[in-house]
Amino acid sequence: MASLARLALREEEIEPMARELSAVLDHIAKIDELDLADVPPSTHVIEVTGGLRPDVPRPSLTREAALAQAPAVSGEGFLVPSPQA
């Protein structure tokens, strides 16, 4: 699960994490007692109509501003380590 979440856990962190998550999942399991067969899942709680704006180009961040907070940049883009070292 940790690797799926892109989280590295140290050996000593695994046991407490598993224990705490089990306690929370046990509490969550209480909803199993409800009969929800005919209940539709919520998709949104407040009805929004016309939420989309017109599909027209508008100014966005400059490249300089978009790159300004990056830990590493290379010329016009974000610099990252190679996917395969």
Partner: protein, 484 residues
């Protein structure tokens, strides 16, 4: 006006004094800046409310002595997770330490345009995940009523700053109670608006279907004033809505004919005796004011917390995928390859609670478990919204205690995540239903403030504020003990 005199003013009073020329906006800003900066400089020797304090009045939106702007010159403290252009916005996380956003959140920009200068950024639980502000990478915030206790969370810095008189008012955010619960524990007013009433643009996201910005203020009138300048449709947030009416200045003196529903599911087991006592005294006051107080049922409310702790972590696990050390924030050095860089950056940058919720959310969304967790939780959410709809057919507003307990001791619940989550028991149902709710102080238990929560149907903010105002006047809560 004397230095202490000007700190006594509510935001509404300060606006009037500035407009009348009897108060200088720059003096007001300087007085608060000095106090906020002293607290920041003291670090954990102070209340630790602020992660950043303005060096002086800002160039744009600076206090203008003769400005016609509606909240001209009232300094605004802003929760760290709101993006503020060129000003550190770190969401209480090591992974965003020193992050300077290239733009400003819509609600902050609106309040600035209405004349409120930015005073500082306030400390919070990391990514708003917590109920005590102990999960901040920048140290815990202390409760000004008792420095051995937590201020609540996740907007704990905002709540403590307002209660202690380090800011006249503050912006917070509420996902499952993060405005209302710290307001309750600090003896101030906190309002979570209807979902969509205020733009989420520029809020560093926790759980997008639940997050809402709202005011933390000294009184109900200030909450109405701030909310008036926050709400409205924003083209940058597709879930934001045009508010159907102007937020009015509350002025009700009586509650004649107002039907107040008391849900047995949120007012019995698990609520501290002293909290229930203060709550019942407030109900008696409501009755004296003419309200018709009656029992109401929310049959699925006791399942709200379970659904919330599936849905909010699920959304968080997705939202927080963006923190990967590529575009902003910190990056672990000496990574072997790209995947190693991701995992090490996130391991080093996130605190324990954030990791816990990302794991929980990843699990709830994973193949084979999705229907059992996320699917079921979304169905419970439907039932909870239906419960409220049915209840509002019978009553106008619903009242509960805001928090099951008064402020607890630092460290008391950090070792038991489930005990910490139970703080949200009374506030989470309203969040899942997307409806507005306000917390006002209603008395003391063991010399610590107790909050009264009032909830109403979607877009009932004006009625909510009116009822809260009438009760506030009748209760006459004295918050003086929290001032530093």
């Amino acid at each position: 006006m004397s230095a202490t005199g000007l700190l006594e003013l509510t935001a509404c009073q300060a606006v009037r004094e500035i407009a009348a020329g009897s108060l200088s906006a720059s003096e007001l800003f300087a007085a608060y800046r000095t106090r906020a900066e002293a607290d920041r400089a003291a670090g954990e020797g102070g209340l630790n409310c602020f992660t950043w304090v303005a060096e002086g009045a800002p160039r744009d939106g600076a206090p203008r002595e003769d400005s016609p702007a509606p909240v001209a010159g009232v300094p605004l403290a802003v929760k760290d997770l709101f993006c503020t252009e060129g000003v550190p916005s770190q969401s209480g996380s090591r992974i965003l330490e020193g992050y300077l956003p290239p733009y400003t959140a819509t609600v902050v920009a609106r309040l600035q345009a209405a004349g409120a200068p930015l005073l500082g950024k306030t400390n919070q639980d990391e990514f708003a995940m917590g109920s005590s502000t102990e999960n901040s990478a920048f140290g815990p915030v202390l409760n000004p009523w008792d420095r051995e206790r937590v201020p609540g969370g996740s907007s704990g810095g905002s709540a403590a700053a307002v209660a202690a008189g380090l800011a006249p008012w503050a912006l917070g955010t509420d996902t499952g109670g993060s405005i209302r619960q710290p307001a309750a524990l600090c003896g101030i007013v906190g309002l979570k608006p209807t979902y969509g009433a205020a733009s989420r643009y520029g809020m560093i996201a926790f759980a997008s279907s639940l997050d809402q910005a709202g005011p933390l203020t000294r009184d109900v009138s200030d909450a109405a004033l701030m909310l008036r300048h926050m709400v409205g449709r924003d083209p940058c947030d597709a879930t934001s809505l045009a508010f159907p009416e102007e937020i009015a200045r509350p002025g009700a003196e009586r509650l004649d004919g107002v039907r107040l529903g008391v849900p047995e599911e949120l007012t019995g087991e698990g609520i501290e005796a002293g909290v229930l006592e203060a709550f019942e005294a407030a109900l008696a006051r409501a009755g004296d004011l003419g309200a018709d107080v009656q029992p109401v049922r929310l049959p699925h409310a006791r399942h709200a917390l379970s659904a919330y702790y599936v849905l909010a972590p699920a959304e968080a696990s997705s939202n927080l995928a963006r923190f990967d050390g590529v575009r902003y924030g910190s990056r672990a050095s000496d990574a072997d390859d790209l995947l190693d860089m991701y995992t090490r950056t996130r391991h080093d940058g996130f605190g324990a609670e954030v990791k816990r919720r990302i794991m929980l959310g990843t699990y709830a969304l994973s193949s084979g478990y999705y229907d059992a967790y996320y699917g079921r939780a979304q169905r419970v959410r439907t039932k909870i919204a239906e419960d409220f709809s049915a209840a509002f057919g019978q009553v106008d507003l619903i009242v509960t205690p805001t928090s099951p307990s008064v402020a607890f001791k630092l460290g008391e619940k950090t070792g038991d995540p489930l005990a910490m989550y139970l703080n949200d028991y009374c506030t989470v149902p309203m969040s899942l239903a997307g409806i507005p709710a306000i917390s006002i102080p209603c008395g003391l238990s063991r010399a610590l403030p107790v909050g009264l929560q009032i909830a109403g149907p979607a877009f009932s903010e004006n009625r909510l504020l009116d009822a809260a105002y009438a009760l506030e006047q009748a209760i006459g809560f004295d918050a003086g003990a929290a001032r530093v």
